[in-house]
């Protein structure tokens, strides 16, 4: 199935897109979607551990499964300078 991923912050800047369509299998995990994303944009590899993925507006863990119609968003981790 195809899912739409909304891109926020640096992920929007790197890809030049606000939204991306990724092809995954039903029941794939968030982790898998991040992998597919990184394969298309290797520059993001170093963010792999930190990329924040929200599913239906709730931040979720990498093992969460994706179902048809889920809204996925990739956003950068919170920043800590002051």
């Amino acid at each position: 199935m195809k899912i739409k991923v909304k891109l926020i912050g640096r992920y929007k800047d790197i890809t030049g897109k606000t939204e991306l369509e990724l092809k995954i299998e039903k029941g794939d995990t968030i982790w898998h979607v991040v992998d597919v994303f990184i394969k298309q944009y290797p520059k993001i590899e170093k963010d792999k551990k930190f990329i924040m993925v929200s599913k239906n507006n709730t931040y979720t863990t990498p093992d969460a499964k994706i179902e048809n119609g889920d809204e996925i968003t990739f956003s950068p981790p919170v920043v800590s300078g002051g």
């Binding site: 912050g9 507006n57 709730t58 956003s75 981790p77 800590s80 300078g81 002051g82």
Partner: protein, 242 residues
């Protein structure tokens, strides 16, 4: 408080006379008086908050000056909180300003924030932010998270039981390696947005969610994040930093 000085602010419909009259009754505690804290304490003093505590243990250093609008060369070597108290008091003598020269710890944070209507984030590390988050959720004191990195700032108003907490939005954070890059004009911009969210919390208005602003690319985004049903802090009441 003399309202003549706020005449142009009172006519802003989002605030109005009613809102302006409320601000002098409020007490804000700002934790950290650096790039974010010095700028936000300046803004809050000017807009008419009644009482402001600024908690910071550091001295002003030359590399601080490029990203604040308060400290000067003559202040280098003196405590940030003391300089802020002296200078801000001159802006409005009716505001109660108190500089507190302390490092916030799990032992003293409750006594520092217990009377606060709101806590404002002026810190430069995640450890203290999680401590603020724990005390906020445990004692039901709203706070505003703000952080900066390079050209990007993030802000989120946190209203316990109503909005996500900091733990809800920060599962994995890159470890701090070396000095954090910060563009000079970024803290002032982010402090300004932080103060807007603080005003909304004080006035009981709708917050703007999780805000990510890149001042270089002029990219402004708001995320309508929900509370994480598995959040250890705001859902399960585990306060691991306290």
């Amino acid at each position: 408080m003399n309202f003549e000085r706020f005449q142009r602010q009172i006519i802003v419909p989002e605030l109005g006379e009613e809102g302006q009259q409320l601000l002098p009754k409020k007490h804000i505690v700002i934790i950290g008086g650096g790039g974010l804290g010095s700028n936000s304490s300046n803004i809050l003093t000017r807009i008419g908050i009644g009482s402001i505590d600024i908690v910071d243990d550091d001295l002003v250093e030359l590399p601080n000056l490029y990203r604040t609008s308060i400290f000067n060369e003559e202040d280098v070597g003196r405590p940030k909180c003391q300089i802020l108290e002296e200078k801000l008091q001159k802006i409005n003598s009716e505001v109660r300003i108190r500089g507190i020269k302390k490092r916030v710890t799990k032992e003293n944070i409750h006594s520092i924030v217990k009377n606060a209507d709101i806590i404002l984030d002026g810190t430069d590390n995640m450890q203290t932010r999680f401590l603020i988050n724990d005390i906020s959720i445990k004692h039901n004191i709203p706070w505003v998270y703000a952080g900066v990195y390079s050209t990007v700032g993030m802000i989120m108003g946190i209203h316990p039981k109503h909005t996500p907490c900091l733990k809800c939005i920060s599962q994995s954070i890159p470890e701090k390696t070396g000095e954090i890059p910060i563009l000079g004009n970024l803290p002032l911009t982010i402090a300004s947005i932080e103060c807007t969210e603080a005003m909304k919390l004080l006035l009981g208005k709708q917050l703007s969610g999780f805000i990510i602003y890149d001042v270089w690319n002029q990219s402004f985004e708001q995320m309508n994040i929900k509370r994480n049903p598995r959040c250890s802090c705001c859902q399960r009441g585990i306060f691991e930093f306290l």
